[in-house]
């Protein structure tokens, strides 16, 4: 499969989504993110953030409009194709409790490479083995050896857990990294530090970062900023 090289990582056009007819939840006229750049998407709770992320993940389909990721319109793909596409090209970081408690730090980070051959191969290209990649990323995230060898990921602090989750989202250099309120459980000192770490890695491996949060104090870090606003037609629009 040839490497996808497009300048636009995300392109949403004329999108409409509603759970029930006549009750629009989200509409997006035009939303574009250039490759390798970072976007801060601001939205209060209930503004359709999760809906937007689910649409971008292909978990739900829009009523109309198109969502192009890396030049591929995912609205036309079958569920299993979307699953493959997402596993190969997107890394996710969520709010909290991102890790499987029964796996070690390294095992957690390696999970995406278990499910995506593409990401596994990319990690091998960059670091010889995915394990080496995981160790490299952990080191970049400021992990000491004793922390890496922690018996359980539950021994780690929330901030440390979020950094493991970030390393996991980044391993295998997916073209897209989606972060959904990843800093909400961190105190303010750690927030900026954490965001800088992610941004630095995204830049280093040319990943496009979509960062969703309600906290406007964070938006200064990003290349682009955009808000989800109430729409006259009902619901929210981007």
């Amino acid at each position: 499969m040839p490497e996808i090289t497009v300048d636009t990582a995300v392109e949403i056009t004329d999108l409409r989504f509603s759970w029930a007819p006549g009750k629009p939840i989200l509409s997006v006229e035009k939303f574009q993110v250039p490759s390798s750049e970072s976007v801060f998407i601001r939205g209060p709770s209930g503004s359709g953030k999760s809906t937007l992320l689910n649409l971008l993940g292909g978990v739900i389909k829009p009523d109309s409009g198109s969502i192009k990721l890396l030049g591929q319109d995912i609205t036309g793909l079958k569920a299993s194709q979307v699953d493959h596409f997402r596993a190969d090209h997107t890394g996710y970081i969520f709010q909290q409790f991102n890790l499987l408690p029964y796996l070690s730090v390294i095992e957690n980070i390696l999970l995406p490479c278990q499910f995506s051959k593409k990401r596994s191969l990319k990690a091998q290209e960059m670091f010889q083995t995915p394990e080496m990649g995981a160790l490299y990323l952990l080191q970049r995230m400021g992990f000491t050896e004793s922390l890496i060898n922690a018996k359980s990921v539950l021994e780690l602090s929330t901030g440390q857990q979020q950094r493991v989750a970030a390393a996991r989202a980044l391993l295998g250099a997916p073209e897209l990294v989606v972060a959904d309120e990843p800093t909400s459980a961190l105190d303010s000192d750690h927030r900026d530090q954490f965001i800088e770490l992610i941004l630095e890695q995204c830049r280093a491996q040319s990943s496009t970062l979509l960062f969703v949060s309600h906290d406007t104090s964070l938006e200064k870090h990003f290349d682009h900023r955009i808000s989800l606003k109430p729409s006259q037609a009902g619901g929210y629009k981007l």
Binding site: N54, G57, Y92, R119
Partner: protein, 419 residues
């Protein structure tokens, strides 16, 4: 790290509940195997109680009744048969051997059988095995007794021991033939048949201890001592039943018909195999009930597994969502749960089989002692393999239900983690 590995680690993370479920399925596996074992062994020891005997002859009653008292030493004969009839039939040219049986007395709960030394020569059990002596020899003197293995074991009798026989059957303090004690001259090897629980004396001895008795009571004022009786004519007048071996099995039905039509007294000749089969049929309903119960226990333990997995689904929503977010497809989630039930069922089968063997080793001596059922430690039989296989199939199928639900759930939940 494969999906199977992931399933395994996830299971280990839920040790307690998983272990409990595993234990309950193991118990039911153990029960399934055990019930089959007991069924098989009871039937086996049942049908091996007598072999090589072509006909059993007794007073006319039912064939099961005759079989019960002559072979299993259970219950009592409705009537005796005359010595004369026995003599006539045993001298028939087609008859190879005849073993007379005289029952009615007991010793501390064990039946006393009056017979002759042909018993040790011709009586066979199991795969046409003859009786063998562990110690001593057949009776030769009037007051000699040969005891079965179980009698010797449970009463602790040794060669040379002096014992007293009681009149009638049962364990209660009956009137004893205490004026004529017997001496143990032989102890038989274990057979796993009612022979183990029997004391064998000569027909003459049975006659001798009853010589001063009439109609079940000691004649008042008449007392004939042990020495005196040895001088007397002790030809028995009647016996309870007798076993026949024929020169050719082909003549079995012919002889049977002749005996059943015997003019001088009403006799009944039965084929032991047929009677055993009929008797076993009576047990088959109990046998079926036993199998049924063990199947129900197995079903309920697998329902327990289903319950465990379904209730855990909700708690594991986060786990599924995380897996989805790192690229697991719904089919992976489905497999994760199906593997889980396969692993639990498989481990339960292993544990249950071990448990079964442990139980077998521990209870076998007790069962042999109390019920005379010999449980041999054997490999898993075909029927047991089939049961284990069915259990594995059903257990794995059980995983499909939560697997499918998790599949549906992960489709609708997507990657959104709900706390």
């Amino acid at each position: 790290m494969t999906l199977l590995n992931l399933t395994w680690k996830s299971l280990l993370n839920r040790k307690t509940t998983v272990a409990l479920t595993l234990f309950s399925i193991s118990l039911s596996v153990c029960l399934l195997l055990g019930v089959e074992k007991i069924r098989y062994q009871v039937k086996d020891s049942f049908s091996s109680t007598v072999s090589g005997t072509d006909l059993i002859v007794g007073a006319r009653s039912g064939q099961i009744n005759l079989l019960l008292y002559s072979v299993f030493r259970l219950g009592n004969a409705t009537n005796n048969i005359s010595w004369d009839s026995y003599q006539k039939i045993s001298q028939h040219p087609k008859v190879k051997w005849a073993i007379p049986l005289s029952l009615g007395d007991s010793h501390r709960g064990f039946r006393v059988l009056g017979t002759n030394t042909d018993y040790f020569r011709y009586f066979k059990y199991g795969q046409k095995t003859s009786l063998a002596f562990k110690e001593g020899k057949p009776f030769s003197q009037l007051f000699d007794v040969v005891i079965g293995a179980e009698v010797a074991r449970s009463l602790g009798y040794k060669l040379g021991q002096s014992i007293v026989v009681a009149h009638g059957a049962g364990n209660a303090a009956l009137v004893e033939h205490d004026d004529k004690p017997f001496r143990v001259v032989g102890i038989l090897k274990p057979t796993g048949t009612p022979v183990d629980r029997t004391l064998h004396v000569s027909l003459e001895a049975i006659e001798a201890i009853h010589i001063d008795w009439k109609a079940g009571v000691r004649l008042p004022g008449v007392s004939i001592g042990a020495e005196e009786v040895e001088e007397m004519q002790l030809q028995p007048k009647q016996i309870t039943a007798f076993m026949l071996g024929l020169n050719s099995r082909l003549s079995t039905f012919h002889i049977q018909r002749q005996i059943n039509k015997y003019k001088r007294e009403p006799l009944l000749a039965i084929l032991p195999g047929v009677a055993l089969q009929e008797l076993w049929q009576m047990f088959s309903i109990a046998e079926k009930a036993l199998v049924m119960v063990s199947v129900l226990v197995a079903v309920s333990s697998l329902l327990g597994l289903l319950t465990l997995m379904l209730t855990s689904l909700n708690e594991r929503r986060r786990e599924m969502a995380i897996l989805r977010s790192v690229g697991a497809r719904p089919v992976h989630i489905f497999l994760l749960l199906t593997f889980e039930s396969v692993i639990i069922t498989f481990l339960s089968l292993l544990a249950g089989t071990l448990l079964y063997y442990a139980a077998l080793i521990l209870t076998a001596p007790y069962l042999q002692q109390s019920f005379g059922i010999l449980l041999q430690i054997q490999n898993i039989t075909e029927i047991q393999w089939i049961r284990l296989g069915l259990m594995l199939v059903v257990g794995s199928v059980v995983g499909i239900v939560p697997g499918y639900r998790a599949y549906r759930q992960s489709l609708s939940d997507g990657m959104a983690i709900r706390i």
